[in-house]
């Protein structure tokens, strides 16, 4: 994006980039822990995805707002401080208003603080761009994460419990493995391979996800 002027990058393009081209889970392969941990039901996947979406958008906005006051040498600790502040906000909100879900995914909400994707967006984008653009960049990246979690949890809940968001869809005996930990790895691996295949078959890509990161 360096050759473009800042104003020319439309908010729509930023959103699309976050959801498809640089999808956190399937394309960049970072911040994976929750992708497996909370996706045994669509509700949990959606809740954690929304939490990340919120934190990502708010962190990006905050960093963009303060970018001229943050000394470059201590920027990482400052970013961490901002992130953990927003994570605490989400953590307390969830604990207050979504008690049942919080019992299951509470630990993973707190773990958002160590997500590479959030720090990466703050460092790569928000620390160099205006507030509006940063907000939409965060929104896109968070939305990509949310979509990925919902896709994974869709398959796992449907195949593992035969239900979707708690409503029974398939009346036959479900495959238990899908809601076991192993199923999470399996579904994510297969989906990743599937998206690579689509990329190779229709867009001439070389297949991503080889890099891996943290």
């Amino acid at each position: 994006m360096s050759h473009q002027h800042q104003e020319k990058v439309s908010y729509w393009a930023l959103l699309k980039n976050g959801v498809i081209k640089e999808n956190t889970i399937f394309r960049l392969v970072i911040s994976l822990c929750p992708a497996i941990a909370v996706t045994n039901s669509v509700r949990n996947g959606f809740l954690l995805g929304s939490a990340v979406l919120f934190v990502q958008a708010m962190v990006n906005s905050t960093v963009a707002l303060l970018r001229n006051f943050i000394h470059p040498r201590i920027r990482i600790p400052i970013f961490m401080l901002i992130i953990s502040g927003w994570v605490t906000v989400v953590d307390m909100l969830m604990a207050a208003y979504a008690r049942a879900a919080y019992k299951e995914i509470g630990l993973y909400i707190q773990i958002i603080v160590a997500f590479a994707s959030i720090l990466a967006r703050a460092e790569v984008f928000a620390s160099k761009n205006k507030v509006g653009a940063s907000f939409f960049d965060g929104l896109g990246s968070g939305l990509g994460f949310l979509v990925a979690l919902v896709i994974i949890s869709f398959f796992r809940e449907l195949l593992g419990k035969g239900t979707l968001v708690g409503v029974t869809i398939v009346p036959v005996k479900p495959m238990l493995i899908m809601i076991l930990p192993a199923g999470g790895f399996l579904v994510t691996g297969l989906l990743m391979g599937f998206f690579n295949w689509i990329d190779m078959r229709f867009y001439g890509g070389k297949g991503a996800g080889g890099a891996g990161g943290h």
């Binding site: 961490m80 391979g193 990161g213």
Partner: protein, 197 residues
């Protein structure tokens, strides 16, 4: 006394094998997939990680029980724990570079990676949540670190072989590593119910 020792032992086994962080709690996956390509890096990571884990569990416990609870600021635990871990990692990086350049050359890379590992922040949070005693926190940290090391070593030894296998093209690299992990995780399910705490 014996009873207590037994309890610690149970906690250790539970943290390292039964509730293995990688295979049943899904934490530290990023590092797990990142450094499990070669046996050598896996072992380096295990040593560094376990050491950092135990020390940061101890530091967090002390701060939590002697500073945060008396001051009633436990709601800040996320902010404070991440601060402690990051500061400790940064400090040991600097100290190691000055005191033992040889060791730094070998393990320094892993230190930098550790700060982004979610297990390192999860262990203090769990210790605080479960109200572990000081010794229990240490044992829990040690078990978690070694359990993570076990996962890394298993995975690295498989992936070294996997390099030579004829994998369908879209599955090369990450996707096949995930499917492999799924199979190992399935094996680890067999440990569940071994000890009920």
């Amino acid at each position: 006394m014996e009873q207590e020792f037994l309890k610690l032992f149970e906690l250790f086994i539970a943290a390292s094998v039964i509730n293995n962080f990688v295979f049943t709690r899904f934490l530290g996956l990023c590092i797990f997939f990142g450094v499990s390509k070669k046996m050598e890096t896996a072992i380096g990571m295990t040593i560094t990680f376990t050491a950092v884990m135990v020390v940061s569990a101890a530091l967090s416990w002390l701060v939590f029980f002697y500073i945060m609870i008396p001051l009633e600021i436990t709601f800040l635990k996320i902010v404070i724990f991440i601060g402690i871990v990051a500061a400790f990692v940064q400090a040991s990086d600097t100290i190691m570079r000055k005191i033992s350049p040889g060791l730094y050359y070998k393990l320094g890379v892993y230190l930098a990676l550790i700060a982004t590992n979610c297990i390192i922040i999860a262990v203090p949070l769990i210790n605080a949540g479960e109200k572990h005693t000081f010794i229990e926190s240490l044992v829990f940290g040690l078990g978690s670190g070694l359990g993570f090391g076990l996962a890394l070593t298993i995975m690295a030894s498989i992936r070294e072989k996997l390099e030579l296998a004829d994998v369908p093209r879209p599955f090369r690299g990450m996707p096949i590593a995930w499917v492999t992990t799924a199979l190992i995780a399935l094996a680890f399910t067999g440990f569940s119910g071994l000890i009920t705490l």
